[in-house]
């Protein structure tokens, strides 16, 4: 029986729920450890004039205060966020200005609190807008997509369209808030750096931190045995890693450093605010004649991050005339980075809201509108899809949800103080794979040792790698001992882009298959076993050019309180076509978790910008709202059996992100249906509805 496809429980589940699993801040040997605490800038731009280091050094238990004056030199690796404590210039509010190192956590924190920092503040600009005077076109958008695309004559087609819409949709700054904030334990052993880090990729951390300190990546040993979530915010090192390494270097001791929840909003990366101007034109049959998606977002002055907001629009629907653009403005803000489905998530909120508005304007059912615009081939890449079953997802979702009984009229279903509505939206996410390596050893006792520098950020990838190896070796999963998340193991790609399982599993499969061939030659197994190492660079490079994407459809019911404008979501249904599902138990929790995060994006999450003080003012869980259990009622997830032979040998498309894509649009579409109010500026909080709700009395 195949191990792939079995609902195995997480290998480390018991360790985690009993607290036995060690995270980056929980490594043992406490007596040797010092504690670092980050001191953050209270101005937006300007210079540090002085730091009252002496007063703090005089406090009992304080070991050292690191500032730009005494920090070791770091190489310029092109990411100004990582060049911490190198000069007195401040580029955003909350930027690290010092690290206080003390014998205890409490001492470090209190000393950091009383450290006096004086500044000379400059002018600042923290507000992104689609009219900003300093907008520019970046060379590429994340990670390496074309900035603009133009096919045909969009403006002519829009002018000639029978039905058209032209609206802008905006999403606010959104913050990655994994349960485990960023944390690092650092220790130098001669010229080598030992790190235990909460990272989504210990290979990339080793390389980047090595480069910063001017040492080879091999001289940096990174472990990340257990990681409490990331959502992209740990996809590359953030300032916590160089700060901890600097603190360890200057003291010659082992140092632990963690962010508080409040620090996460300025030091971990976040989803940029976005504005998408959407113009759609259709003929009398509802066939799209033109699609235009102009996207605007922000970056910092330290590092260019260009959210690929309009990328998904390039692959979703057929239309002969098409245009996508990305414009960026560099502001005095922390650098936005990846957050679950960067690009697709805000972009599909815009596209799928616009499609819903077009459906209403054309008098066509939203599912039917999408069906009529189903492309034969990828409309911009002009290559076939490896597989595409958006229609299957919509049909199955409609069946599960009861879409057929829907009355399309807006604000037509009122039940007492509740306005009830339904909406749907499509989901998509690219199926990617990156080169990785894996090592597997057959031992004389019949067991196998598998090693790969993959990371398990809570998704269950450790468990899935063992399933994949079991099938490739044709043994029971229990016969395999697996090690991951150690940079001494074969280099593997980051746990991001929904590509971990495909990338790592490909290398694991290859190594295991090669080992089986070796074993079949009948040789006896020596005491230290027979080892095979494999990498997939050649296989990844040889992939034929196809459009590889997972698709999905989400359906939402909302009840809007006519007395308050509060939105309740009694049920969500998501159906996905994402290739082969490796482990239904783990997959279900990925889909449900991402849909829940999409629900939060739709209704709750917003970084509230203070344009004077220059930061996002709500930076804790009391004021930055994510869904509570009471908000999440009934989320039903299914997937279609989809065989796609143009992917990795396992045949999966990646499932970590697609669930958040489209969820917010489905909610917004349902709210529009319930109330007749179209909210084009997330989140849909009561203030966006209250003044325009239908009268109750």
């Amino acid at each position: 029986m195949s191990a792939i496809g079995a609902s195995l429980a997480r290998i480390e589940g018991i360790e985690k729920v009993t607290g036995a699993a060690d995270y980056a801040y929980e490594t043992t040997a406490e007596q040797e450890t010092l504690y670092g605490w980050v001191v953050q800038s209270s101005i937006v731009t300007g210079r540090i004039l002085d730091i009252g280091v002496d007063a703090v050094l005089a406090l009992p238990g304080v070991v050292e205060v690191v500032t730009w004056r005494n920090a070791p030199h770091l190489e310029d690796t092109g990411d100004g966020e990582l060049n911490v404590l190198q000069h007195a210039i401040i580029s955003y509010r909350g930027q690290p200005v010092a690290v206080v190192i003390a014998e205890t956590l409490e001492t470090a924190r209190e000393a950091a609190n009383v450290l006096e920092v004086s500044y000379s503040a400059g002018e600042s600009d923290v507000l992104m807008s689609p009219d900003h005077l300093r907008l520019y076109a970046p060379d590429k958008v994340n990670p390496a997509f074309e900035t603009d695309s133009v096919i045909g004559e969009v403006d002519v087609a829009l002018a000639d369209a029978v039905t058209s819409i032209d609206h802008s949709y905006s999403t606010p700054a959104l913050f990655n808030n994994p349960m485990e904030p960023h944390a690092t334990t650092a220790e130098w052993q001669g010229g080598r750096l030992e790190l235990v880090d909460s990272t989504q990729g210990s290979s990339v951390t080793a390389e980047q931190i090595g480069a910063l300190f001017g040492i080879p990546g091999e001289a940096v040993h990174v472990r990340a045995e257990h990681v409490g979530g990331g959502f992209g915010s740990k996809g590359s090192p953030r300032p916590n890693v160089p700060l901890a390494a600097i603190a360890a270097k200057i003291t010659g001791r082992r140092v632990k450093l963690a962010y508080t929840r409040q620090m996460m909003s300025s030091l971990a990366g976040y989803r940029t605010p976005t504005v998408s101007r959407m113009r759609l034109g259709a003929d009398a049959d509802g066939r799209l004649t033109a699609i235009s998606h102009e996207a605007f977002s922000q970056t910092s002055t330290l590092f260019e991050f260009a959210e690929q907001t309009a990328e998904a629009t390039r692959h979703m629907y057929a239309a002969p005339n098409r245009r996508t653009t990305h414009r960026l403005v560099a502001l005095d803000v922390p650098t936005p980075r990846w957050m679950r489905a960067p690009g697709e998530c805000p972009g599909m909120y815009a596209l799928e809201s616009a499609m819903d508005e077009l459906a209403a304007a054309a008098g066509i059912d939203p599912i039917e509108l999408r069906r009529r615009n189903e492309p034969e081939r990828d409309p911009e890449l002009d290559v076939p899809y490896s597989s595409r079953d958006l229609i299957g997802c919509m049909e199955r979702g409609a069946e599960l949800f009861g879409w057929a009984e829907r009355d399309p009229r807006p604000a037509a279903h009122i039940d007492g103080r509740w306005a009830i509505g339904t909406g749907m939206a499509a989901s998509t996410y690219p199926a990617m794979a990156q080169p990785s390596g894996a090592v597997v050893t057959a031992m004389p006792d019949g067991r196998y040792r598998l090693g790969i520098n993959a990371t398990d950020i809570g998704t269950g990838s450790r468990t899935v790698m063992r399933q994949i190896a079991a099938d490739a070796l044709d043994v029971e999963p229990e016969a395999i001992d697996i090690r991951i998340a150690d940079s001494n193991l074969p280099k593997a790609s980051v746990a991001g882009g929904s590509s971990g399982t495909a990338s790592w599993g490909w290398a694991v499969t290859k190594a295991c298959r090669e080992l089986r061939i070796s074993l079949q030659t009948g040789m006896t197994i020596p005491p230290d076993g027979i080892t095979v190492t494999a990498t997939t660079d050649a296989e990844i490079a040889a992939q034929e050019e196809l459009s590889r994407h997972a698709f999905g459809a989400q359906f939402v019911e909302v009840r809007v309180d006519l007395d308050s404008g509060e939105v309740v979501v009694p049920r969500m249904v998501g159906v996905f076509a994402a290739g082969r599902i490796m482990n239904p138990r783990l997959a279900r929790s990925q889909f449900i978790g991402a849909m829940t995060m999409g629900l939060g994006m739709a209704l709750h999450e917003v970084g509230e910008l203070d344009t004077v003080l220059g930061d996002y003012a709500n930076h804790d869980f009391a004021t930055y709202h994510i869904p509570a259990c009471a908000d999440v009622k009934d989320i039903r997830v299914e997937w279609l059996d989809e065989e796609d032979t143009h992917l990795s040998p396992m045949g999966g498309k990646g499932i970590g992100e697609i669930g958040i894509v489209g969820a917010a649009a489905a909610v917004a579409n349902a709210v529009a249906h319930a109330t007749g109010i179209r909210v084009r500026d997330l989140p849909i909080q009561p203030d966006k509805l209250i003044a325009d709700l239908p009268a109750r009395f």
Binding site: Q40, S42, E106, R109, E110, N113, Q262, R417, D561, L562, D563, S564, G565, E566, V568, L603, H604, E608, L609, D610, T611, V612, L613, A617, N618, H619, D620, A622, T623, H625, P627, A628, C629, A630, D631, Q685, P686, D687, I690, A691, L693, R696, F697
Partner: protein
């Protein structure tokens, strides 16, 4: 966190005497707000006087029909109390709408009355705030003010009292009993919290060092016909955008008496006396409800970000009164 002394009080007089000697000391009850604020360095008491062992519990019905609630009674216990549920459902519902189950299990009645604003500037000690640091300024007025006051604010502070329980107690005309070095004293809920004026550092009119000992809820013949509704950004564990505590006495479609208090709109729970006056003796109809609450909100001075609270409070009050008029 700034280092501090800790001691456990054995009796009320001793606790009060300690704060008399050390004005920078604070009482510690459930700690659900104070300890957070200490971690954030918003509160830096010299000493914590733990009052959890004092005999301040119990919910007692007195001879005159009033209910006396000990200051140490936990929010969960008060919400579940059969007498409270029957006679003052508004109070039980207000409590249950607040915080989370875990916090309600810890939070005390006395401490809940004294919880401080959740204005994001007050909570961030790297920023100016006239309440936390008098004279440093109020960035909220031109900044993030969506959740803040529309009634009774000043040029120095637009913070709100964030609680739910106090809104219900205000509607119920409750009386707060406390002890100071000078002996026992009391304040009506209407005079307990204060408007910020030119001294937003003071949330209440409680004398310095006073220890709340109990809250007395007077009898209310129509208290059984009361409720609490709270509008918020998520379904649980969120402070109110606006809330309404109301009780209604209707006979033959005419309002004989009523109580309305509005939460999250001011530095104190806002007793809607203008609306009450207009509605007493009037038909219990939605248009009358709406006209009355509009008159109450005439003096509202919202910011751009919280102007939505005017239609929100209007709709909530009309909806709640209509619900009470048609049980």
């Amino acid at each position: 966190m700034k280092p501090f002394e800790y001691e456990r009080a054995d009796d009320v007089a001793g606790a009060v005497a300690t704060l008399e000697r050390d004005p920078d000391a604070k009482y510690l009850a459930g700690g659900t707000n104070l300890v957070d604020l200490m971690r954030l360095r918003v509160e830096t008491p010299s000493r914590l006087v733990d009052v959890n062992r004092l005999d301040l519990g119990g919910i007692v019905v007195e001879a005159d029909g009033a209910v006396r609630i000990g200051a140490a009674v936990r929010n969960s216990d008060l919400a579940a109390d059969p007498v409270i549920r029957e006679r003052y459902p508004v109070l039980s519902r207000a409590l249950l709408s607040a915080a989370s189950g875990q916090l309600r299990n810890m939070a005390s009645v006395g401490g809940n009355l004294l919880q401080r604003t959740r204005c994001v500037y007050f909570m961030d000690s790297s920023k100016p705030c006239n309440k936390r640091e008098p004279g440093s300024g109020c960035p909220a007025i031109v900044g993030v003010s969506r959740e803040l006051a529309i009634l009774g604010a000043s040029e120095h502070c637009i913070a709100t009292h964030p609680g739910d329980m106090a809104v219900a107690l205000t509607a119920l005309d409750a009386i707060v009993h406390f002890e100071t070095a000078a002996g026992p004293d009391s304040l009506p809920m209407s005079g307990f919290h204060r408007l910020p004026g030119d001294d937003p550092s003071r949330d209440t009119n409680l004398p310095p060092g006073a220890l709340i000992t109990s809250v007395e809820v007077p009898p209310l013949s129509f208290g059984g016909r009361s409720t609490y509704r709270k509008a918020r950004d998520r379904r649980s564990y969120a402070f109110a955008l606006a809330s309404v505590a109301a009780a209604l006495d209707v006979e033959d479609g005419i309002i004989r008496d009523l109580r309305i208090a509005v939460g999250a709109v001011s530095h104190k729970p806002w007793r809607a006396t203008v609306a009450e006056e207009l509605l007493r003796g009037s038909p219990a109809t939605p248009d009358r409800f709406e006209a009355a609450i509009r008159a109450e909100l005439d003096i509202a001075r919202p910011t751009e970000q919280n102007a939505f609270k005017i239609p929100l409070v209007t709709r909530l009050v009309v909806g709640v009164l209509d619900e009470l008029a048609h049980p």
